[in-house]
């Protein structure tokens, strides 16, 4: 144990990785949970790829000297918010399917723009664009941590302050609006903060880990747990455990921590589905048992008794 603590104290990159783990877990338990509740898990992937388009635009504007001040990260964030706004607009009536289509369209638009602009960006800069999709827990720098922590804390505050509002907007947008809640504002707040966090998390730890950690634990917890709070806590725990396990394994075996964490997080969903299946089977057995309890048998007896008096 002491060895591990010493190792962490001596390795700034491990410290950054562990802080990153907690920040990603916060993003997963807040925006990940709500995106899964709203049937919008695809938005995670949509936003990450839109960020890529934005980064490409930033690099293009810098390389062509049109707007040298335009940082690629700024482009990435602007495009992420664009996806959130388009999705939000499609979902103002509270219909999940329309939002899913909006994510798909804005995702395609941003990716196409990225590929289009790649022809006009100096070839040496092109790998930098893809850098917005690949990151690694063990390669986080201080700026990554500061930006990630900033949005994670913002998300956490929003989720604590407006937990009920976010839930109401997710469960019954029409009814909430009709009864005086400013549902539109909360709807957009939820989507925009999620989009910013997803974009920054993707830049920091890589797209695959972000998809896996944001979607799978929330989907797994939502299969098994019956309240919003318990789902959010469970997501946080699964996210931390799978990422820490990923780092631990990568220290002893030659493997990417993000890959291990991603596999573990995704497995949580598979395991949850199996548990759910087993639980349902037990429920069915119990229900069938109950039908054979005294009252049920009496009914059968009574039916048999009556059978003799039927006029066929």
């Amino acid at each position: 144990m002491i060895d591990i603590i010493l190792l962490i104290i001596e390795s700034p990159f491990l410290q950054r990785a562990l802080i990153g783990v907690f920040m990603i877990a916060i993003v997963a338990s807040t925006s990940g949970s709500f995106l899964v509740f709203r049937g919008l898990s695809f938005m995670t992937s949509g936003v990450a790829h839109a960020a890529l388009g934005g980064a490409a635009l930033g690099l293009f504007l810098q390389a062509s000297n049109i707007a040298p001040w335009f940082d690629p990260m700024l482009g990435a964030l602007v495009f992420s918010v664009f996806v959130a706004l388009v999705t939000g607009h499609a979902g103002e009536t509270g219909i999940g399917e329309k939002m899913e289509v909006a994510v798909g369209v804005s995702f395609a638009l941003s990716m196409s723009l990225a590929v289009f602009l790649m022809y006009y960006i100096p070839p040496v800069e092109v790998p930098g664009i893809w850098g917005y999709l690949v990151g690694d827990l063990l390669l986080l720098n201080n700026l990554d941590i500061i930006m990630l922590a900033g949005t994670a804390v913002l998300l956490l505050i929003a989720a604590i302050l407006f937990n009920k509002e976010f839930v109401y907007v997710s469960v019954d947008m029409e009814g909430s609006t009709a009864q005086g809640l400013n549902a539109r504002a909360y709807h957009y707040l939820m989507l925009i903060t999620s989009a910013l966090a997803i974009a920054l998390a993707t830049k920091a730890v890589g797209a695959i880990l972000v998809y896996a950690i944001l979607v799978a634990p929330a989907a797994a917890s939502n299969e098994l747990l019956g309240s919003v709070r318990s789902v959010m806590i469970a997501v946080f725990v699964i996210a931390v455990v799978s990422q820490v396990a990923g780092i631990a394994v990568s220290l002893s075996v030659r493997a990417s921590p993000s890959a291990i964490a991603g596999i573990l997080a995704a497995m949580s969903y598979v395991v949850a589905l199996q548990i759910r299946k087993m639980r349902d089977r037990v429920h069915i057995d119990e229900e069938l048992e109950q039908l054979l309890q005294p009252s049920g048998i009496e009914m059968l007896d009574a039916a048999e008794g009556r059978g003799h008096t039927h006029n066929d």
Partner: protein
Amino acid sequence: MATESLLSAHDLAVRYPNGEIALHHVTFEVSSPSFMAIIGPNGSGKSTLLKTVLGLLKPLRGSVGLLGLDSVKNQSRIRKLVRYVPQRDRIELNVPMKVKDIVLMGRLVKKPPPRVASHEDKKAARSALQQVAMDEFWERPFPELSGGQRQRVLVARALAGEGPVLMLDEPLAGTDVDSQDLIVDALGVYHRENDVSIIMVTHDLNPIHTMVRDVLMLKNTVVGVGTPCDVMDPELVMSLYGPTAKIVEHSGHRYCVTQDSGVDRHD
């Protein structure tokens, strides 16, 4: 309050979100307090009328008002007065809500943040669930209930809330007979014992026609307004539901027989 107008429209026209005209030349007035039913076949603009009153849709022409408040100018005041039950399929079942969370929502949605449930809120929620015989389900996950049970919980959400007008959009569509009876009885008793008006959109007047005071018949425009007995007229009913609609009399009441199923959406 006795002579105040509950719901009134003047030359109202509204489009569905898909662009079709849902309502046109709608003019009527119903006084408050009332138990009012808005009836008509699928796609006749009943739900659209409710949504326009609540400011969820804007009038294309004319105006509609609730308790003398205009739907456009006084939108936020109207929303404070109304407890609304949308069509059941509008409720997202992917959110892990317990029955108590749904019912408490009826009260907390009108409170300022952080919307913490007080002892009084919980008491009102439990009492509302009792009225629809769902109090044993307090801790149960809402998405796991049957359709009829979910509808009863949504009605309880409205009963638990505050505000002088209850608006319900097809609360009886696709529910089992037991749930239907429980909902109708609960609403009838609640209307009698409290100073509230109820406006209910329904494709079928029969289950509620003994307790309803005013009926508005819609088929994209007003076909008839009056008491249930006034509107249970063979010609009116045929103009609303087509030539297969019939009026039958049973135990001194007139009932309407149609082939209409209920829920319709125009997104």
